[in-house]
């Protein structure tokens, strides 16, 4: 009758970061760190992964909330996506992030899901999620990149044996805003820029981020650099709610009158990491938003793209998103 349960695990519910760090240190790879749980429970219910122990971080108050820092803001990793989306400081200065957070999954998932969890979640490649012995799972082949492989959602950039993509909507927004990730362990703290926090299969084929066992992502720091720039965020997905991006694009433009003084274009779901479109940025920096330069950016954005059998549509889609974004980027609330 009825439903299954997750297999038994030991549950730890630390209420301070120090206790959580002790547990993470003691349990190492055997302790599964859970923030909102909206992805973790599915892995365990599906039995594609098992764990001896779960460390539920959701009760650690000191890791929640947004506060002002010197010139920028710091967001606790356990701040829910709803709270990120609704926060007045985030909305006023970094509308890009507020919009991206509001496009994640569904209202109930945003109420439980956290910014840190959204950044650290694993890829959605369904072969990998199905529990096959692919490269990412420690095996020696990629099932998505085969003649019959169903790879409509997969990478057009930066593939290296594995063709999985980043599922996070907030990751590309935070990369565009030059954010840094604060990572704590019992041994101390390190601060890693978003551009190095996410790792592709060429760096480590079994992980999406630089976080090691025993470490906890505690906060995201956003500098003042891009505050109140002209922003644009768009997520293309099959469904308006719940769904993961087929492609998403975060754009920040620093305008000086009609001239684009600086630009950041970062797309999601195109590569294993948030993929910065530097050639497209170069095509518009120092220019006005005129059709010729926008066209150059749209072409430059997809240079070097390598489609698989079923994801060729991502190439013209990305060009179109770049055109729309540069034309449409607007004030603090995108």
């Amino acid at each position: 009758m009825l439903r299954d349960m997750m297999p038994l695990f030991d549950l730890y519910q630390p209420d301070t970061l120090d206790n959580a760090l002790d547990l993470a240190d003691r349990l190492g790879p055997e302790g599964w760190l859970v923030a909102g749980g909206q992805d973790s429970w599915d892995w365990l219910k599906n039995r594609t992964r098992r764990t001896r122990a779960v460390v539920d971080l959701s009760g650690i108050a000191e890791l929640k909330g947004v506060r002002e820092t010197d010139g920028g803001i710091q967001i606790g990793a356990l701040t829910t996506l709803t709270d990120v989306q609704d926060d007045p400081l985030v909305r006023e200065r970094y509308g890009l992030l507020a919009t991206a957070a509001g496009r994640v999954a569904s209202p109930q998932i945003r109420n439980a899901g956290t910014l840190g969890g959204n950044l650290c979640q694993d890829t959605r490649c369904w072969y990998y999620r199905g529990g096959v012995d692919c490269y990412r799972a420690g095996g020696n082949m990629c099932y998505a990149d085969t003649p019959e492989g169903q790879n409509r959602e997969h990478a057009v950039f930066g593939a290296s044996r594995c063709v999985a993509v980043t599922p996070s909507d907030t990751a590309n927004a935070l990369t565009a805003l030059d954010a840094s990730m604060v990572i704590r362990s019992k041994g101390g703290e390190r601060v890693v820029p978003a551009a190095r926090f996410f790792v592709g299969p060429d760096v480590n084929i079994q992980r999406m981020t630089v976080i090691e066992p025993g470490e906890i992502l505690t906060a995201v720091r956003i500098p003042g650099t891009w505050a109140k720039s002209a922003f644009y965020f768009e997520k293309v997905a099959d469904r308006a709610a719940w769904d993961f991006a087929l492609l998403s694009l975060s754009v920040a433009l620093k305008m000086e009158g009609e001239t684009i003084r600086d630009a950041r274009l970062v797309c999601g779901a195109a590569a294993c990491v948030p993929w910065r479109l530097e050639a497209a940025e170069s095509a518009i920096i120092g220019k006005t938003r005129n059709d010729d330069d926008i066209e150059r950016a749209a072409v430059a954005a997809v240079e070097g793209a390598q489609p698989l059998n079923f994801n060729g549509f991502k190439i013209p889609l990305l060009s179109n998103l770049v055109r729309r974004a540069i034309k449409g980027a607007g004030g603090a609330s995108t």
Partner: protein, 216 residues
């Protein structure tokens, strides 16, 4: 207890299946049925020697304004506890993967998927289920009445989740536009596709009759 004997017993007592199941859960029969529900755990639920620092199993939950003592496994979800330990079967389990919304409950006024919430994480927090929305004399909540008036449900399975999501919306935003309501309700699927009826019901409950759209 076999199906035949359940049917015979129901027949003898002339009670509905739903009432019968509720009585079974509320009575001592829970002990034997629990091992059935939690079948995957046979042999491992009374663990020899709990690891230091791990959670206590006997906890108090604040559900619909009542303090309930309940024995909760570490990996148990709130939907499981509500339905199979507390007898609150109004909360439905459908996908069990945070992908449908049938199990939506309120915790401190905010909506969550109870299938994807650990029961141990809601200690000391107020949980409200569909059963907790009724008035003091058992009357329907105004949102439920509006759902009835607008013929909201078709098969009705997603309805408790839809009602809870709608009540939470109206507590935060008493006069939503139809578009705001659509957005707020986007975490609740309806396989009958009765979305427009539900939106009409929410517009009615919010007193926004201008945005009640009955089809051509």
């Amino acid at each position: 207890m076999s199906d035949t004997s359940i049917n015979a017993e129901m027949e003898a007592r002339r009670v509905s299946r739903r009432e019968f199941i509720k009585r079974v859960i509320a009575s001592g029969a829970v002990a034997s049925s629990a091992s059935f529900v939690m079948g995957g755990l046979a042999g491992c639920s009374p663990r020899p020697g709990t690891v230091a620092g791990s959670v206590e199993r006997l906890i108090s939950l604040n559900v619909n304004g009542q303090l309930r003592r309940v024995d909760v496994l570490p990996q148990e979800t709130l939907a499981m506890t509500l339905r199979y330990k507390l007898g609150l079967t109004g909360t439905k389990l459908s996908c069990d993967r945070a992908e449908c919304g049938a199990c939506t409950v309120m915790i401190e006024g905010t909506t969550y998927y109870s299938c994807s919430t650990l029961t141990h994480s809601v200690r000391n927090r107020k949980v409200t289920t569909i059963e907790g929305l009724r008035g003091p004399n058992g009357e329907l909540h105004p949102v439920q009445q509006a759902f009835v008036d607008e013929l909201g449900p078709q098969c009705g399975f997603c309805t408790p989740g839809q009602v809870v999501a709608a009540v939470a919306l109206l507590q935060k935003n008493p006069r939503p536009t139809r578009e705001e309501a659509r957005h707020a309700m986007s975490g609740n699927l309806c396989r009958c596709g009765a979305y427009d009826n539900y939106l009409n019901a929410i517009m009615r409950a919010a007193g926004n009759t201008a945005e009640i759209h009955h089809g051509a």
